[in-house]
Symmetry: C2
Subunit: 191 residues, 2 copies
DNA sequence: AAGTTTTGTCAACACGTGTTGACATCTTGT
DNA sequence: ACAAGATGTCAACACGTGTTGACAAAACTT
């Protein structure tokens, strides 16, 4: 199957599979596991619902595939350790929270209440998030520092999901961000 | 209606209303708005589902009533400002997260993804949480400091909801708590 | 060009949901 | 004691869900 065929074919299983995955990622990041119906996802991808079960096995496996494809901490935390607080606070407060690098956090937050998504989140979070994050941090108590920083990040993201402007004025938001930068840096600092 | 009657009557509307409210609070704090069915709540209260609609009007109004009855920040933050970080960190890390004073936070977290519960949370959170919290804190930038501290509290609570032991050993958890205390105190400090 | 496999659509299913109205039973006032 | 109102149960409803199997059309193989 040549690249040309990949683009010109009317029917293309790998392409629709990818479309399904993209649509699922988008919707899960906005509404969470339970609130999203497979029909919404399929409609967004432009295909029938039944293809989800055919290609992924079911809703649960689709969710696992989405989590698997999300950007890991290596893509999120790249940069200097000294800049951590400043860099992440800008990302958390200024960037859109439902797509881009923060997508995976949104999904974790909005799907935490689901009995079926929760175990997947716990497993993936440990394997692909806390583990690499702690390793990236290094030093003493790396796991503790990673978990605390991750908790703070989730909290801020959640408040932005509930209310995008955090219920603060633009001027207040700047002060919020600066304060958050200091707090995050302190959370991961080795002393 | 004498107190004796209140206890001896087989049928007591105010009592069943209270039972319904208690059961709803308990279940919403454990599973969130969407995941809980009215039949579960009614079964826990020992009555039929239809009474929910009769007494509260519907699921949405029941949720609003639950949020209304939850302990406010006055019950959560009572104490000295200098002890804030230490006190709250103990509460967040050591106490059970699904009942007691933290119930309202659990409900906010687990129901944030619901399209119907989210507006109620936003409204109640502002009226009965951030507002009083900021007033309790006092000083410059009180709203900013309150929001940041609340974000951190939610993040930690969420991680405990996903995994009660935070995925840490008992020894690590102690260090996590100490670090969290410092971070929280720094979040609300006035300088 | 015919036959076979892949890819997508459609209809139906079994289930659970919140809500509603009719009915039964307890409680109270006269 | 009897009627009236309050309180609770039951059955059904309309709807949306994830999943499954039969069928149609496209794409590939020979």
């Amino acid at each position: 199957m040549t690249p040309t065929e990949l683009a010109t074919r009317k029917r293309n299983s790998t392409a629709t599979r990818a479309n399904l995955l993209d649509a699922a990622t988008k919707h899960f990041a906005r509404q969470g596991y339970d609130a999203v119906s497979l029909r919404e996802i399929a409609a967004e991808a432009g295909v029938d619902v039944s293809l989800v079960s055919r290609y992924f096995g079911g809703k649960e496996e689709l969710f696992a595939a989405v989590m698997d494809g999300c950007p890991g901490p290596d893509r999120i935390f790249e940069g200097e350790h000294a800049d951590f607080g400043d860099r992440i606070s800008r990302m958390l407060v200024d960037e859109p929270v439902v797509d881009g690098k923060l997508e995976v956090i949104s999904i974790m937050i909005l799907s935490a209440s689901s009995v079926v998504a929760s175990p997947i989140i716990r497993r993936m979070g440990e394997e692909r998030f806390f583990g690499p994050f702690a390793k990236w941090l290094g030093g003493a108590d790396a796991a503790v520092r990673a978990h605390l920083a991750a908790s703070i990040m989730k909290g801020v993201s959640m408040d932005r999901l509930i209310q995008d402007d955090l219920g603060l004025s633009a001027r207040e938001r700047v002060r919020y961000r600066k304060r958050l930068a200091r707090v995050l840096q302190s959370a991961v600092s080795e002393d």
